[in-house]
């Protein structure tokens, strides 16, 4: 008797799933019609597809910044965005699946947030030539791909200058989320900034995870341990480029007198979750992903989608240092001098350590 009920339940569940699946299919074919046939209709029904990286909306950092761009665009142009978030366990095929789903359902542009989508964007963008794809932090070839790159080594260089000027012990820490080329760029710029300012200062580097293990971007406890270790070695300024793991570092640093944190991606001084610790946040190396995302959505809205590599750097304000809290006031002249030198090309910022 029990088996019969189980089979019946399973049957009903399968039927329900199949029904929803076909429903999705139907709506996607309908909606891809107008987006495919002409750009004129795009104005009234803006359908933006967002695929976030691990952490997603609410990571108080990188993904949140992209989400702000989306919110601003939604306010300006209307429409209903669709947001998906990658998980730690996702492989290449899962990510391709997210983008395919969005493109198939008629979302345009499809914005993928994070370098981890690079391969997926390459594959999927070739299949949907009429959809504009955006990728943050990576360069992907393709006529319908907007590669948004950020000169984070440049902002990290400025963070390094600030760290060197503020450190009393001459010993500075860098915490990287995952040991990959992108984060090594932060490290390289930061180290160069410190050494150009105070050649005798020492920078200690610690990564939280390596390779394909992306947990280092979302483990505040790991960030806290790494920071505690650094503080016990006399390090008094810590720059954490580690996604939401950075909050652990910032909270630990806030428990130590005369120690400073440098935030990353968003202006972390303004983050309500860190309100208690903000008196120790010297500055943040911001990366205006929101501007880039907004630019892309706007361009699609206007019928002239951005494509190719769009570089956001110090010169065009795509990256920079946040000055909230006013802790930088005393060292502003040096920071501005360094900034001018980078813009003029007098300083070439390295992107590999």
């Amino acid at each position: 008797m029990r088996r019969v009920t189980t089979i019946a339940a399973a049957g009903i569940a399968t039927a329900a799933l199949a029904l929803t699946a076909t429903a999705c299919g139907a709506s996607s074919t309908q909606s891809s019609g107008p987006t495919g046939s002409g750009k004129a209709t795009a104005k009234s029904t803006m359908k933006v597809g967002m695929a976030y990286d691990v952490g997603g909306r609410g990571d108080h950092s990188f993904n949140d910044s992209a989400a702000r761009g989306l919110d601003k665009a939604t306010k300006a142009f209307g429409g209903t965005p669709k947001e998906l978030t990658a998980k730690n366990t996702d492989g290449e095929s899962d990510r391709e699946g997210y983008l395919t789903d969005l493109a198939q359902a008629g979302y345009n542009p499809v914005v993928s947030v994070g370098y981890a989508y690079a391969q997926a964007v390459k594959v999927v963008s070739a299949k949907f030539p009429r959809t504009t794809f955006g990728i943050v932090d990576s360069e992907v070839p393709g006529k319908n791909v907007d590669s948004m790159t950020f000169a984070t080594p440049e902002s990290s260089y400025l963070a390094g200058v600030a760290a060197a000027l503020k450190s009393k012990t001459g010993h500075i820490g860098f915490i990287g989320g995952v040991n990959i080329a992108l984060i090594q760029g932060f490290q390289a710029g930061f180290q160069q900034g410190v050494h150009d300012t105070k050649p005798a200062d020492k920078v200690t580097v610690q990564y939280l995870s390596t390779g394909t293990d992306l947990s280092g971007f979302s483990s505040p406890d790991k960030g806290a341990s790494a920071a505690a270790g650094m503080l016990s070695h006399g390090i008094d300024v810590i720059y954490a480029a580690a996604g939401s793991s950075g909050t652990g570092s910032i909270q630990t640093v806030a428990g130590t007198k005369n120690a400073w944190s440098i935030g990353v991606d968003s202006d972390q001084y303004q983050d309500p979750a860190l309100a208690k610790d903000k008196s120790h946040i010297l500055t943040s190396a911001v990366k205006n992903v929101d501007v880039a995302v907004y630019d892309l959505i706007q361009s699609v809205h206007n019928g002239k989608p951005l494509t190719g590599t769009v570089a956001y750097n110090l010169q065009n304000g795509g990256v920079g240092l946040a000055s909230s809290g006013g802790y930088l006031t005393g060292i502003m002249p040096q920071l501005n001098a360094a900034k001018q030198k980078i813009i003029s090309g007098a300083i070439k910022v390295k992107s590999t350590p």
């Binding site: 990564y207 939401s244 309500p272």
Partner: protein, 426 residues
């Protein structure tokens, strides 16, 4: 490593107690002293002061507690004969409910809510496995998946709306939770810190280790330690414990003696859920100050490994958890150079093992030990640091090594994971 060579025919009570008597208290002290000497020697030779610094030991303890609690949770369940692979899910429930009550009412209420949340997970597991006879692994995996999904869904509703969202909540994160109090032994702790600073051989190392154990100790950590002692006492020194363990060894025999096996299994699994929930709440409130999606990071499974490492006993399990916590903390705090120093420690251990094997006249294993020790020494001498990729796998390599070296001696509860229906024995 405790030597448990229980004969297969031995009755359950002596099998459980037999290994214990061999490892007398002075023996444990000798082993501890040897370990300390080896570690101090490594520190003196390599200059990696962090190997025994109080900060490192304190950090290791903090990393070890959630793993230890997960292992203790597994112990309660498996001693009652139910495999609990759903620990991860129960920990997730603990982090979520702990943080949910914690940010509103403070850490102690949060702890209570976390424990209750874990217990709910345990109750579901007990109903599925004990009452309905579902396969233990299937039910455990289902609970983990369910807990992940449910918390993700609830977090969107509870942490991303109203007041919670304004003070820093998001779908992935709860608002901040106030810190739970911590204790530092006055007088002793600063004195130990001064001794540690001198870097005297052995003395400073001892001071560092002790200092780490008495400085800034979270009250939750103290509570966890008490739970370890209490578990040992309850399960091995009371009639209740004997009955519960009998359900894991020979439920039919227990039933014939009038033990209500179902009830004891329920108690074991619900306790298990509660302890896992405590582990989760600890994670959300001590190392971090908020719930974070994916915070448990597989610690439930690592806790199970620690339990197996400890031969289903609290003492061994605490050692296993300590080992995980130590390597975890070492690689996060100091990375390459400190892990490099561990190579030398591993070398010393392998040499000791080889000597013992030769002494016992098992020459093949002895030679294998010597060769691997020599290879390690070469590696140690030729390099000055370890690549990051290797450092991060240190805890897992250590586990594999220890498990493969001690696997033959492990003995799980006899009826662990076996289906049991009332009245089977008739």
């Amino acid at each position: 490593m405790s030597v448990t060579t229980a004969p297969a025919t031995a009755p359950k009570s002596s099998a459980a107690g037999g290994g214990r008597r061999k490892l007398s208290f002075p023996m444990i002290l000798v082993v501890l002293a040897c370990a300390l000497i080896a570690v101090s020697a490594v520190r003196a030779i390599t200059g990696a002061d962090d190997v025994t610094s109080s900060g490192q030991v304190g950090g290791a303890l903090e990393m070890a507690v959630p793993i230890g609690l997960a292992g203790l949770a597994g112990l309660w369940s498996e001693r009652a004969g139910v495999v609990n692979i759903g620990l991860e899910g129960m920990m997730i429930l603990g982090t979520f409910f702990g943080a949910w009550a914690g940010w509103q009412h403070g850490p102690w209420i949060g702890l209570l809510a976390g424990v209750v949340g874990g217990m709910l997970g345990g109750l579901v597991h007990a109903i599925a496995t004990v009452t309905f006879g579902v396969d233990h692994i299937v039910s455990g995996v289902a609970i983990t998946l369910l807990a992940q999904g449910a918390t993700e869904y609830l977090a969107k509703m509870w942490f991303n709306t109203g007041h919670a969202a304004r003070i820093g909540g998001s779908p992935k994160q709860s608002p901040n939770i106030a810190s739970v109090g911590s204790i530092t032994v006055p007088g002793l702790s600063p004195w130990l810190a001064t001794v540690e600073k001198h870097h005297w051989f052995l003395v400073s190392d001892l001071a560092g280790v002790l200092g780490g154990l008495v400085t800034n100790l979270s009250l939750f950590t103290v509570l966890a330690a008490v739970l370890f002692a209490a578990t040992y006492f309850v399960l091995w020194r009371t009639p209740f414990g004997l009955r519960l363990r009998s359900c894991g060894e020979a439920p039919v025999a227990a039933e014939s003696l009038g033990v209500n096996v179902y009830r004891y299994k329920y108690i074991g699994v619900i306790m298990s859920g509660g302890l896992a929930g405590f582990g989760g709440a600890f994670l959300a409130m001590v190392p971090a100050h908020a719930y974070q999606e994916g915070q448990t990071g597989g610690r439930g499974y690592i806790g199970l490994a620690a339990m197996i490492f400890g031969n289903w006993r609290p003492g061994g399990l605490a050692m296993g958890a300590g080992l995980f916590g130590y390597t975890d903390s070492l690689q996060l705090r100091n990375g390459g150079p400190a892990a490099h120093a561990l190579l030398l420690l591993l070398f010393i251990l392998l040499v000791a093992l080889a000597v013992r094997k030769f002494y016992r006249k098992s020459y093949k294993q002895g030679v294998a030990g010597v060769i691997s020790a020599a290879l390690l020494l070469v590696w140690f001498l030729m390099t000055s640091t370890i690549p990051d990729e290797f450092v991060s796998i240190t805890p897992y390599v250590a586990t594999l090594l220890v498990l493969s070296l001690s696997a033959q001696r492990l003995r799980m509860p006899k009826a662990d994971g076996k289906p049991y229906r009332k009245g089977q024995g008739k």
